[in-house]
Symmetry: C2
Subunit: 333 residues, 2 copies
DNA sequence: ACGTGTCGTTAACACGTTATAGTGAGTGCC
DNA sequence: GGCACTCACTATAACGTGTTAACGACACGT
């Protein structure tokens, strides 16, 4: 246990190598227009390695006025499998671009938003929900270059939003419409996920209109089999009966499956159900759940590119790439 | 769109308020032993608010030599519901202590470990897996004060490890032992989660020994119903048959349930299954899954306290608090 | 010998903050 | 008036980095 190990600075390396701090900096950063003798270069490199020198990111950030950190702001709703995967893909995508992606969960009751980015000096902030105007203004005046709100209806994230979220609902509806004349939608009972839920529902709606089907029957239910059962009864009693169900995600889809079992019914014979996310549990449900899954690596690349463009300069405009949607067809629909 | 908005510094505030930079600092930090006239204090506050001043965290960190950021290093295995919750609880726990908890997913192929903490100057690093000696040494020489490896078998995290992880397996075994004479264990097929799996299995083993039951029958299976089915056949054919199954987590437990369905068998009549995590899908499985769930807020508090103690000074020793384990009894066992 | 370059290196500054030492004005005391 | 002392504030030194301008040494051409 080192008592309170002092930091190794570039001055230490310089002293050890018998050169000045500037020379150390030139060597370690490979400054282009600076000639350094091979002998001293090796001496500096050896000293740095010996002492285990690592430049202070704080000093570096202070000097450059910008760090290479991209801060991802997670909303406070429960983080499932999908978000976990997206985080990993984003980390990978930003790493490819020499940026460090870091995530903060903005759970309610924790530090205020300003405290968070005040503690980090990120180069960019990436969020799932739109910022308030004052927050956005504050960030800009704090020198944070980019503010991208995913799934926001305005600003940089807009094009990304429309493509992916609507397409998910659309894919659900198209698959069900092949064999069902009336569709239902399970809307989440947590208003906080509306940023995702609304566009997905819109996708279902527009496909119904396009194919000449009646409006989808939208119900908001909690994650309990009993609630699902009573909703299912209503659906089947309608005229014409609602037999194809698009769920907001796999959890709500599995709730419908549980409701069906409770009523002694069976999917897809009595009612077809389709989810979103392809969570690990989806393949293990009974019956195995048909689900829609986004190409997360592609989505991550899209966001990373958007951030890079904004960092390099505001003049380059976005080139919206349609993220690919895949249908994992199992037995429930 | 501001072209490239310059940062607002304390010098700007000072100029606007007609005082020196030092005075601004005194006012904004409420320096105790410094008397400031109420008039000037208000003037400074007003100027800061007007200009939207936010101190530069980089400069602050450089000055203090330590930031208020705690970096959580996530392993590269798939992040499920449990990890998501733990992150939220940790964020909350650290926020209570005026620390900013931030997470980086160390996905394979991304930046190397050194690049990550080099980019952040965290006050402490919290990881699920033990560090290599060279990494640990490098961090210390970079001035990072605390390095806590959760679930590590040595060092600061040790006491936390034993308590929680072993207790989970023990709780599973105790519940099953009430009505089953021979237990089986579903070990994950992903070696990366061994840090969790091993202690849990140890908990099951020690309870079996304590109660005079034979050694648990450990099997490693992938997350496919077919694999589970063939393992189930072997278990039931054994003499005496293995009828109580502890699974590494809910997903593996649900795989066993799926295997049972495939064989036309039923839980808990033919075989009892118990999982870990109480993921949302557990309550929706058929039959609803009995599962062990940790008191995540308590665990988060424990870790936060450990970090705080290490930050305040290395002399204070740990006071291990046994995190509470709860059994969510449903129908599968 | 003397300007003219090039080469390798270094002194010095700036980034924005906090803390320590100090400064000038005012006040009380003898 | 001189001294001590508080008061409200300011000048300045770090923290560790990257970079610009300068500088000595040396070679070269005339």
């Amino acid at each position: 246990m080192a008592p309170r190990s002092r930091r190794v600075t570039s001055a230490d390396v310089a002293r050890d190598a018998g050169v000045s701090r500037a020379t150390v900096s030139f060597v370690l950063n490979n400054t282009a227009h600076q000639k350094i003798t091979d002998a001293t270069r090796q001496r500096v490199l050896a000293a740095a390695a010996k002492l285990g020198y690592a430049p202070s990111p704080a000093a570096r950030t202070l000097r450059y006025g910008r760090s290479d950190v991209v801060l991802g702001l997670l909303p406070d709703w429960p983080l499932g499998h999908a978000v976990g995967n997206l985080i990993q893909e984003l980390t990978l995508a930003f790493a490819k671009r020499n940026l460090t992606f870091v995530v903060h969960s903005s759970v309610r009751g924790a530090r205020s938003l300003s405290d968070i980015w005040k503690a980090l000096t990120p180069a960019a902030v990436l969020a799932f929900e739109p910022f308030t105007d004052s927050d956005a203004a504050a960030m800009r005046s704090a020198g944070i270059e980019v503010i991208v709100a995913l799934y926001d209806s305005s600003g940089l994230g807009a094009e990304a939003s429309i493509t992916s979220a609507n397409a998910i609902g659309a894919a659900q509806a198209r698959h069900l419409a092949a064999s069902h004349r009336r569709l239902g939608y399970v809307y989440p009972d947590d208003e906080r996920v509306a940023v995702f839920a609304r566009p997905r529902l819109d996708g279902v709606r527009s496909v119904c209109a396009e194919l000449g089907l009646p409006e989808p029957d939208v119900r908001t239910i909690p994650l309990t089999p009993d609630a699902a059962a009573s909703t299912i009864r209503t659906w089947l009693a309608a005229d014409p009966p609602v037999t194809g169900i698009c769920a907001f995600n796999d959890e709500f889809a599995m709730t419908v499956l549980a409701g069906l079992r409770k009523l002694g019914l069976e999917a897809p014979r009595d009612m077809a159900v389709i989810g979103v996310d392809d969570s690990p549990a989806a393949a293990l449900a009974c019956p195995p759940l048909t689900t829609v899954v986004e190409d997360l690596p592609a989505v991550a690349e899209l966001y990373a590119d958007t951030v890079m463009r904004a960092l390099d300069g505001p003049e380059a405009s976005a080139s919206p790439v349609e993220p690919r949607i895949r249908l994992e067809v199992r037995e429930s629909a």
